[in-house]
Amino acid sequence: MSAYIGKRLVDAFLTILLVLSLVFVAMRVLPGDPATSALGDLATEDQLAAFRAKMGLDAPLPVQYVVFLWQMLRFEFGRSFVSDETTLSMLATALPYTIELTIAAIIVGAMIGIPAGVVSATRRGRAADYAARGLSLIGFCIPEFYLAALMLIVFALKLDLFPIMGGGDAFPDRMYHLVLPALTLGLVMAAFTCRLTRSSMLEVLPRAFVRTAQAKGTTERRVVYHHALRNALIPVSTGFGIYILTMLSGSIPIELVFSRPGLGNVLVNAISARDYPVVQGCLALFTLFVVAVNFAMDIVYVLVDPRIRAAA
């Protein structure tokens, strides 16, 4: 087990290095001068030179690369050009909003998607099945930010049921502000979950143990939910890591639509203000988050299914 964890840790570290290197290439190696883009076209040569010296952009590229990696790995993201706040504290303020949205979306998605998938599979070829499949196809295709905009138009502007923007202050207000964004992202998540639950149920339902349970006279409800669904949920739950990450990337445009003060909004504002240190900090944090989730899922798989350990 410890050898397995060690191997996964090395993988995780290499992934961080690889993706940070891609970011470095995109930001510094490829044409496009960060100094000009940060200060604008009107900046004088002196100002540009001062900026480059301050940011370490006048050093040779290999030196910049090592310094960049070292700073990113130690979370030394520097201060925002715009607010002079440290990037780290900006990220720390924003993170809870993104995390609560991601978690709420996963809960909403599972609560809608799993029952819908079960109904769709048990009533295969009937109206309920077509409805569930049609809706999940639309959920699969509709861009998150468009769905968010539609929800905003209908529920916040026309019906005036929910707040239009912001993240809320005290706990009840914060939850109130969370409803529409979480519902939006949750519906997208439900589309994924419904598809997966359906195909997984269709594989489990014809199996012998399901027929045995039916033959013993167990009620249909118990057969479906107790016997079949339990087994069908295994492949659904292993996809969990992917969901968390899909929801994380989906939360970025959604936060923008609802003006939530989360990571997505911090990143997008930093991009449009050319706030270089904050952009770097966000990207490093996303990288770390993705790698951490994958690492955690790898460990969970082994705990759930010892066969993987044997294979590793």
Binding site: L22, L137, E144, Y146, L157, S249, P253, V268
Partner: protein, 292 residues
């Protein structure tokens, strides 16, 4: 996302039969007609649009749809219908070019890795796995954020994010074809590897790649719209579906029509490519149809 990765090693059986099946499928045919309509709009947009898409009019701000302005006007009084039609060009340009670039690069790497094996294959497989840990949207966004705004940067960023997806499919399919007796026979007959790849491997993995490519076009269009919405793609006043929605959101109280119209076109376009991709996959590999 997941739909494309599931399509891994499908091997093309008979292209004529596949084509027949796709044409017999009413869903696939309507998807193809929709795509054809979008292509026509993209090509003919400049002569189809009734108004100059960047001409502003203070008198006609935030109007609802009417016979003169079919989709209404935005907060600057610009005609939404004209802007949405013209926006089709950017979405299709990026939707087709990014997967095409990624497909070419990814197939080359994946096929060579799968065919020759060795350290190159091991490195390719590892790097592919690492990058696949990132959702395509997130990876594309991260690279685009590093590069800065602009359509060229956006195409590059999305293409880089897609390369591992194509590499994986090409490599897995090549490994399957590599084990076939006719490839062994060609090697025994002394044919050079490049010829074997060109003559046996590529034709046999092309079906799988077409399916993956079609599904990734749908994703590319979504990602382009999302990044343009965020402000990283097509820059205003040049219209794209993503930035029309972004602009419309700032004036929702005035008129929701620009948002609704651009988003509906976007969703329809993504839907059409997804349905076509699914139909192609079903036709190539009937096992999927039984599940779905």
């Amino acid at each position: 996302m997941s739909a494309a990765t599931q399509a891994a090693p499908v091997v093309l059986r008979s292209s004529a039969r596949t084509l027949g099946k796709v044409i017999a499928d009413p869903v696939a045919v309507s998807a193809m007609l929709t795509i054809a309509a979008f292509c026509f709009i993209a090509l003919a947009a400049p002569s189809l649009i009734p108004y100059d898409p960047v001409a502003q009019s203070i008198l006609h701000r935030g109007e609802a749809p009417s016979p003169t302005h079919w989709f209404g006007t935005d907060r600057y009084g610009r005609d939404t219908f004209s802007r949405v039609l013209l926006g089709t060009r950017w979405s299709l340009l990026l939707g087709l070019s990014a997967p095409l670039i990624a497909g070419t690069v990814g197939t080359t790497i994946g096929t060579l890795a799968g065919y020759f094996g060795g350290w190159f294959d091991r490195v390719t497989a590892r790097v592919t796995d690492m990058l696949m840990a990132f959702p395509a949207l997130l990876l594309g966004l991260m690279i685009a954020a590093g590069l800065g705004p602009g359509i060229g940067n956006l195409i590059g960023a999305v293409a880089v994010a897609f390369v591992p997806r194509f590499t994986r499919v090409a490599r897995a399919s090549t490994l399957a074809v590599r084990a076939e007796p006719y490839v062994e026979a060609s090697i025994a007959a002394g044919q050079i590897p490049l010829r074997i790849i060109g003559k046996h491997v590529l034709p046999n993995i092309s079906g799988a790649l077409v399916v993956v490519g079609t599904l990734w076009i749908a994703t590319a269009i979504r990602v382009e719209a999302t990044l343009s919405f965020i402000g990283l793609g097509v820059q205003p006043p040049e219209p794209s579906w993503g930035n029309i929605i972004h602009d419309g959101l700032t004036n929702l109280l005035g008129s929701p029509w620009p948002v609704v119209a651009a988003g509906a076109m976007l969703t329809l376009c993504v839907l059409a490519f997804n349905l076509l991709g699914d139909a192609l996959r079903d036709a190539l590999d009937p096992a999927y149809r039984d599940q779905g």
